[in-house]
Symmetry: C2
Subunit: 244 residues, 2 copies
Amino acid sequence: MSILRKPTNTDPVIEVCLTPALWYQFDYAEKNVIVIDIIRATSTITAALHHGVKRMIPVETVEEAETYLAKGYLVAGERDGYKIPHFQFGNSPYEFMSEDVKGKEIIHTTTNGTRCVLMSKGAHNIVAGSFLNLESVVEWIKAENRDTILFCAGWKDHYNMEDALYAGSVVRALSDHFQILDDATLSTKMMYRYIRANMLRSVKQAQHFKRLSKLGIEKDIKFCMSNHKYDIIPIYNGEGFVKM
Amino acid sequence: MSILRKPTNTDPVIEVCLTPALWYQFDYAEKNVIVIDIIRATSTITAALHHGVKRMIPVETVEEAETYLAKGYLVAGERDGYKIPHFQFGNSPYEFMSEDVKGKEIIHTTTNGTRCVLMSKGAHNIVAGSFLNLESVVEWIKAENRDTILFCAGWKDHYNMEDALYAGSVVRALSDHFQILDDATLSTKMMYRYIRANMLRSVKQAQHFKRLSKLGIEKDIKFCMSNHKYDIIPIYNGEGFVKM
């Protein structure tokens, strides 16, 4: 299709939820939901499945993850950017690239992203989006041709620059096939359009970057902000994310 | 002061609340609050006071406004962009420029903006911001040198393009004197920076414009989006907005 195509009012709608605090405004039951927690949960889920992890199982609380740990599961988790000390893994994508995790199931709890997955239960499909699999996610949304919500995890119910920029990049890529009917969605598209040439510079001004770079995870951030063309779609099967 | 000045961590903080749905996250008791409802409540308040209206008194509900109407007050109001038929005035800035309203008090109820004023009660000061008095508001905030929240009224608890762009223009003008500590605030500044050359074109893509232009108020919108350099600050004195 030509990029000059304009969506009509029979085309599906694309929407962006800027923070979980606004999720109550969305009617998601019949829609596809893309959960976005660029730094780092959905990037880590994408990288882990790409590198052979069998299933990433999101749980909301540290306590719940601990019950799995007690049963012998591999458990990954962070709070406020810090690895939970008695878990085997934190939330860095680099931790899930080794032979040791191939074919394994991993319990995963994070400050923002995993919570959004559980908030989206009941959606038509729940998919994890990241720059790592941007093209694949865009192509999948297009092929589905269904109303879609891009759900930014943000930071503790606040707006988050890198999640909004990713949402904007997806909206822009879909804007000849999907209707945009609200200003929040339009704003992410406009912002991405202007900032894309200086993405990393803009994200370095963002709070999440400043917060996390103190923890020495700049390497993770650079990885999460780059497009690695991982040709996979992590889809939530009711219990965990698996390769579609 | 040079525009190359960088704020330090002893400078006051500027924050943007993108929609009333996020207001609960703000601690506003000791701060100045600028209420922003560009199309049209805060533009109308600014224009009315500039043209000699003595006081614009915001009330939340149509029913409350009706009790004032019954007592003989002049009453202005809209819901969903439409003038309330039995009130003397709607919410167009042009309605408050005649000799008839000079020195008068007017009860004012609108879908979004007046509600935010009442939500801000308890703030150090509440001021109405609009493009009409942009320079004056910026200079006042600077002179106050106090933590400030730019409160975007939005549309029925949703993000609104023109309110966010105005917030961004204020943040940008203050960014050498005030600290920016969150991504929502940073995003409005970035968006304004890139869009300012094409403000009206961008706003024409926005939902509020599309919604209201159907009502034949394009003339109002153009007025509200332009900088008329009205040198006044509408400040809320506990009952209504008066000239500072």
